[in-house]
Every structure is written in structure tokens, then in C-alpha cells.
Amino acid sequence: MIKKIVMATAAIIILAPGASFAKGEGTGCGLGQQVFEGQKGLMPHISAGTTNGLFGNQSFGLSFGTLGCDASKVVDNKYQRDVFVASNADTLSRDIARGEGAHVEALASLQGVEEADKSIFISALQAGFAEIVSAEDMVAAINSTLAKNATLSKYVV
């Protein structure tokens, strides 16, 4: 209601080198679609600081096949995880470094981590934090950290 203060960032630039989002085949559509379209270097885009972050004026129910994509991809956990990490890179980083927090719990949920393995998941990410936070592709860095761990490699997605 009140005119928003346009904040050019609340700190997403923690990943200063700029994590770009590897545009793979079959990236979903709708949410964050505009981000993935030929975008290299998410960070400047995010830091433009629109009030809806990555989503701009997009709205889920309006996401359609007009861009030649499959709307059902949006239900896909992997896709949701990709958008989540891109939107919350800094807050997720904070929770990973702390070894606790709602963002890393949410990530665990999106990666399908079982309750019993959650603690190991969070510790492993905390241990691999320096690599994760310096990587160009945060999702790939997270996955490679998981791959190195016998219990967690099954959660690579």
C-alpha cells in the first residue's frame, strides 16, 4: 500500500562474482521465466530490487505455455529448488554458515532430504560453505558438496 522504498539490494550481492544460472534444457516456465531466458549473471538482475524480487509482475496462475514451455514443470521440485536458490542466495548462505535456519531447512525439503539425514545435510553444507559461496553456480556447488558424501549423494538433484 505504501509506496515501497526501492532498495537496490538487500544483500544479494554476497555472491559478488555473480552466480549465473546455467540455462539447461527443460528449464521450467512461468515463475522466474524471465530470469532464465538467456540470463547470465543473476545478481545484477536480482539487485534491481523490484518488490517481487525475481518474480517481477509474474504470477503463477498466469504462467502459460505461450513461451513454449510446459506449465507442469513448475510443480517440479527441481525447478522450485532452482528458483528458490536463485531468489534467496544470501539468506540461504547465511543459514548454511550458521548450520541452522528456515532457508536451509526449506532447501532440504526441496531436495527431498529425509528427516534422519537432515542434520548431516546441513553439516555437510556448512563444511563446504566456502566453495558454495564462491561458486558461479550455487546449485551445482551444493550438489557437488552432496555428491562427496556417501549418505547424501542420493539427494543430488
Partner: protein, 662 residues
């Protein structure tokens, strides 16, 4: 000649029969091309299944059904006509649909037969866009799927599956920054997912109604916002995006209110949200704003239990939550502190050595402070790094972009060091404030009572439109913010037997954020209105005034609700019966606001004004005002004031009144 007439008449009588054979075809054509009003009209003479449905809908009087009314957002006008609050033409299938529930219902039934898609951007048939209407009409009439085939609507199914709705919460972010006006807050919905936990709730979708602002010009923003010049849209995006905006960027505390809704009601609301998302409504800042239309969306889930009827002509988000509360719609509620509140909570428990270290890390980075940091044990170190990170992040918000990059590097440095410690942080738990905003006093206020001066007695009546006075009971409000709109005072003087309007204060705002070593904000106040002349033997209710000031405020002692403040003030007032008939003054004000008991507030302040220009109006005054809360919406107010005007003899004014909040 007769033969020709005979044959012509014979031919003419056969036309109706001939067209009857063609009729179903005609109707199908009309339906396919979206001419629903026409299709409705012509179906009457046929045996098309549409005619059957129309007949049933009329028998059941569905157009008058509260559910139909709320689905279409019809409001009764002054002359008993209807008007839908929806403004997008896509929402109506009948040319007169916006004003005619019956016509719209019939045209909607017709539209269900059609495969026609709305547009390239919205490639859906009516059945697949107006899913709530279809669901409800089908339930009431029971469509024969052979005669009216059901479309498969995969896009809606994806929407429903993705939202995975189990319950709905109203999310209320409260005030932020040094802005009492933001106390009005905002409301949005969060669609809680099946199996959601407190930790994963940020993954839920949220539904938000807001104006799409197409101007950078402040004046236009103001005017268009009040007069419906902007379009309002519903949007559905992940809650984490909104959480980021409110909790992290704007540092607003959030209250969540989980609604009492059956699964069927939840599903129906989700269906309706899908319908609303494709259209728009004219956005009116006062009346049809974010909170109002969130209510109008939720209303459908209650089969016509009208909330929006309860709304006053202006809608404050908090009032919408109270409406839900009054209707027993709130199942439970929860407080989620902002990042800033969490930070403040952590910092207050640090000793001065620890605070200094945090500040130094912010100022100079980690490298210079490693030695100092190493003097602490590992868990303390972890805590200090956590706090240092939050502090850097918090201070970064106000900085220019070059400094922000440097601070971001600092943040990364801190987090890397923190992660290497390998210990887990404890979750930050901020105690939930005793009173939730929806349990606070109501926002309109009526005051009645008596006053006395040295040579007079008077009865007084005051009415305030909104919102919260510094002296009003604080429960549920931020106690150092004051904002009032439309405050009208009238007195009746017993000796003179005269009645006068004394003051109409259009707006009065005051902000007293207490300065700590964590946050150093300035206090400020501003008010404007019109008032009557001092001379009660005259009635001249036409003297505008404007005043304001800036200053400092400090918390007194350790408990909440006690402040010491000082202002440098200035103002201008219009006068009558004097030389210049205006006066500009400058001065100061020192005050103390205290809460000796939880329901007893005392405000003591001294004001000093010196005339800078115009008529001489030097003033010294001392005021003590008190509020004793008797119940949530009833308070006793006592006031005593001594004033010295232009160095003449002091005059006193005391009053005792009852305040009723509604």
C-alpha cells in the same frame, strides 16, 4: 390475387418451422463465437440443453444466491441496482454482466458450452478459467456430462497441485522504518501446504492484491491512488519472496493469523483466486485496497457470509483482521519478528566489550579483529559472528551502492569464518508481545466528558476517525508511534451556554523511536488542521495551523513503554481580531511518557513557544495527561494543563473524560 396472398401466408407460416430445425445449429454457432447473450435469448425457443440449464437456474433462483453474488463481487447500489467491483471485461460473459447478476449467470452457463479461448495470453475456455463458477453451478444444477462435456483444465489442475492447499493464513506485516503511517500495515494470504512445517512455510504460495503503479510522479501517485486511477491485480507468488521483502528488506515484524476454514472452503477459495488473477479491479487506497479485496476473495469460502459489508467506508488492514476475529474465523496466530527485531534482541544481551567488537567488525572488517575474536570460546565466537553479519547487513540497507559492495564482501568474509567454526547456531527466539495487534483497541474513538477552567465549566465531545494516540492503551500497537486522522473536538460552555467546534485536526503524527547504541533514529512530529479562536465569546472556526518538530527520544529505565523526549518545534497559526492575524513561532518541548502500571499511562510535558513573526503569541505550558484503560475499548482520561500566554497570568484547564473505541 388471393392465391398469391394464400401462398405467401402459407410460406410465412412455414418459416418458424424451418428455422426451428436450424436453431440448435444457430445456438451452437453463437456459443462457439462467444455470443452468449444471443445464445441465451435464442435457446428459449429450442430444446438445446442450454435451455434446460437456464430453466433450472431460474427455478433455483441462483442469481440471488449469496455465493453467486460473492463470486461476482456484486454490491448493491443506492437504488437497489447491482454493480460488480470487478472492472476487467474478461470477467463478464454478458454485455451487461457487470450490472446484472441474472444476465451474467445465464451467459456464464452458455459460455460453458464453448471452447472459445479468451486470448493468446489466456488460452483457456470458460470452464477452465471460471473454475469456481463451474464447480458451484455444477453442484447446484448437476450438469449432464453427455450433453455438456466437461473440459479437462490441466492448467488449473497444475495450479491446484502446486499450491497444494491445506489451510490459509492472513499475513500482517506491521510498521517499519521511522514511519508511523506504516502501522496501517498490509495484509496478504499465505496458502499453507499439506505437510508444511514452521521451517518450510516459506515455500508456500502467497496471494497478494496490490495496485499496479504506472507512475513515478508523487503527486499522480497520490491522486490516482485515491481515485481509482490504478488497476489492482491479484498475484500468486512464493511466500519467500514476500517474506524477503517484509522481514529482511523492510524489517517489519509479521503476525500470522491462521483461518478457520474447512477443506472444501479452502479449495473453493483457491478456485476463485485462479479466476481473479486474470482480471483487474480499480484500486482505491481508502476503500477497495489490499486488505478489503483479500476479504472479498476469502468471502466466497463462506457461502455468502459477508465480511465486506462490515467494512467501513475506509478500510484499515487491522480492521479486516478484527472482522475475521469477530466472526470466529481465526484459528490461531503467531508472531514472526523481523531480522532487525531479532538483531536488537541479540545485541541487548551483549556486554560493552562484545558490542564494541561487533561494531569494529562492521567498521573495519574481520581481519583486523581476529585477535580480539579469538579471546572468546567457540560458541561465543559463533554468536558474535552471527550478530556481526546481521549488523553489517542491517547497516548496509541505508548505504550508497559503492559502500554496499564493500559491505557485501565483508558479509561473505564473516560467513566464511563462521562456517569454519562448524558449530550450529541456536535459533533466535524473540518473546511474542503480550497483545496481538488484533486484540488492541478499535481504531475510531469517541470521547465525552467535562472540563473546567478558572472561570468556566464545559462539556466536551471528540471524535477521531483513526488510528492510535500516544496516550491510548498500547496493547497491540507500537507504543512510540502516534497517528491520528480526522480528530474533531466540540465544547459546550455552561456559563455562556454556547456550543463551539474547537478543533478539527486533519492529521497528527508523532514518532518517538528510542535511541540506543544499536539504532539512532530521530524523533519527529507533525500536525495540521483548523481551530477556533482562543476567545470563547467568539465563534470563528476557520483558523488553519501547521506545526512540527524534530528531536530525540530515549528509553527510561529497563521496561517498555517509558520514554524521555525532547523536540525543537516550530509552527504557524492563523488568528483573528489581532494585528497581523497570523503568528509563526519556534520553541522546544520536553516530555516524559511513562507506564506506572500496565493499564495506566502518564504523559508529562513542557512546551515553550517564542514568537518569530506576526502577532505576539509567546506561550509556556505544562501538561499532565493520563489514560487509565478500563477495558479493551474503554478508557478514562484525565488532563491538566497550565498555560502562560504572552507573560500574563497563568490559566489552568483540567478535564476528565471517557473514551470509547469502536
Amino acid at each position: 390475387m388471393n392465391r398469391y396472398i394464400f401462398f405467401t401466408l402459407l410460406l410465412l407460416t412455414h418459416f418458424p418451422l424451418a428455422s426451428a430445425i436450424d436453431n440448435n445449429n444457430t445456438i451452437d454457432n453463437l456459443l462457439a463465437s462467444g455470443e452468449y447473450d444471443q445464445a441465451v435469448k435464442y435457446s428459449a425457443q429450442t430444446d438445446h440443453y442450454l435451455a434446460v440449464l437456464l430453466q433450472k437456474s431460474r427455478e433455483l433462483n441462483l442469481a440471488d444466491d449469496p455465493t453467486w453474488q460473492t463470486l461476482l463481487h456484486y454490491k448493491k447500489g443506492i437504488f437497489n441496482g447491482y454493480e460488480s467491483q470487478i472492472d476487467g471485461s474478461i470477467y463478464f460473459h454478458s454485455k451487461n454482466g457487470k450490472y446484472n447478476p441474472q444476465a451474467e449467470l445465464e451467459a456464464t452457463l452458455a459460455s460453458f458450452f464453448s471452447l472459445k479461448e479468451y486470448s493468446k495470453r489466456i488460452p483457456l475456455s470458460s470452464q477452465c478459467l471460471y473454475v469456481a463458477r463451474y464447480y458451484w453451478l455444477n453442484k447446484k444444477i448437476d450438469f449432464d456430462k453427455q450433453k455438456l462435456p466437461e473440459h479437462s483444465c490441466s492448467h488449473f489442475k497444475t495450479y491446484e497441485k502446486s499450491l497444494n492447499a491445506e489451510s490459509i493464513s492472513v499475513i500482517f506485516p506491521t510498521a517499519f522504518g521511522n514511519s508511523p503511517a506504516s502501522m496501517f500495515g498490509h495484509t496478504l494470504l499465505r496458502i499453507n501446504k499439506e505437510g508444511q512445517t514452521e521451517q518450510t512455510k516459506m515455500l508456500a504460495f502467497s496471494i497478494n492484491y496490490a495496485a499496479t503503479v504506472d507512475t513515478d510522479n508523487n503527486f499522480l501517485y497520490f491522486v490516482k491512488g485515491f481515485t481509482g486511477g490504478f488497476r489492482g491485480h491479484f498475484s500468486v507468488i512464493p511466500y519467500y519472496s514476500k517474506l524477503r521483502e517484509y522481514s529482511e528488506m523492510e524489517n517489519r515484524d509479521i503476525w500470522e493469523y491462521k483461518l478457520n476454514l474447512s477443506k472444501e472452503m479452502v479449495d473453493f477459495i483457491i478456485m476463485h483466486s485462479y479466476e481473479l488473477e486474470k482480471t483487474y479491479l480499480d484500486y482505491y487506497y481508502f476503500s477497495e485496497n489490499c486488505s478489503y479485496h483479500l476479504l472479498s476473495l476469502i468471502e466466497v469460502g463462506l457461502h455468502g457470509n459477508s465480511f465486506t459489508q462490515e467494512a467501513k467506508s475506509w478500510v484499515i488492514p487491522l480492521d479486516t483482521i478484527k472482522i475475521l476475529d469477530n466472526k470466529a474465523m481465526i484459528d490461531s496466530y503467531r508472531y514472526e519478528p523481523s531480522q532487525r527485531t531479532k538483531l536488537q534482541h541479540l545485541i541487548k544481551d551483549l556486554n560493552s566489550k562484545e558490542k564494541k567488537l561487533v561494531f569494529n567488525i562492521f567498521k573495519n572488517g574481520l581481519t583486523q579483529n581476529y585477535v580480539e575474536l579469538d579471546t572468546f570460546d567457540i560458541n561465543k565466537k559463533a554468536l558474535l559472528l552471527d550478530i556481526a553479519y546481521e549488523y553489517v547487513r542491517y547497516r548496509k540497507i541505508e548505504k550508497a551502492s559503492e559502500v554496499r559492495v564493500e559491505l557485501s564482501n565483508r558479509e561473505r568474509e564473516i560467513l566464511i569464518a563462521r562456517s569454519k567454526l562448524r558449530v550450529k547456531s541456536l535459533p533466535v527466539v524473540v518473546p511474542q508481545p503480550k497483545a496481538s495487534p488484533h486484540k488492541g483497541h478499535d481504531t475510531m474513538r469517541l470521547i465525552a466528558g467535562f472540563g473546567t477552567t478558572a472561570d468556566n465549566e464545559y462539556s466536551t465531545l471528540q471524535w477521531r476517525g483513526a488510528y492510535h494516540n500516544l496516550l491510548d492503551p498500547s496493547a497491540g500497537y507500537i507504543d512510540y508511534y502516534h497517528i491520528e486522522f480526522f480528530n474533531l473536538t466540540a465544547n459546550y460552555y455552561h456559563t455562556q451556554e454556547t456550543f463551539r467546534f474547537e478543533r478539527l485536526e486533519a492529521i497528527s503524527v508523532m514518532s518517538l523511536p528510542p535511541r540506543t547504541d544499536f539504532s539512532k533514529e530521530f524523533s519527529w512530529h507533525f500536525s495540521t488542521g483548523i481551530q477556533n479562536t482562543d476567545n470563547i465569546n467568539k465563534d470563528y472556526f476557520a483558523l488553519p495551523y501547521l506545526k512540527g518538530g524534530t528531536g530525540l527520544s530515549y528509553q527510561l529505565g529497563n521496561s517498555h513503554g517509558n520514554y524521555l523526549y525532547m523536540f525543537a518545534d516550530g509552527g504557524i497559526e492563523s488568528l483573528v481580531d489581532l494585528q497581523e492575524n497570523y503568528s509563526i513561532y519556534g520553541g522546544y518541548r520536553i516530555g516524559m511518557l511513562t507506564k506506572p502500571l500496565s493499564n495506566w499511562k502518564v504523559h508529562l510535558f513542557k512546551t515553550s513557544h517564542r514568537t518569530l513573526s506576526g502577532d505576539k503569541r509567546d506561550k509556556e505550558s505544562l501538561t499532565i495527561e493520563q489514560n487509565i484503560a478500563i477495558s479493551r475499548n474503554l478508557s478514562l482520561k484525565l488532563s491538566w494543563e497550565e498555560t502562560i500566554l504572552n507573560q500574563t497570568a497563568p490559566t489552568q484547564n483540567a478535564s476528565i473524560t471517557l473514551a470509547y473505541y469502536h
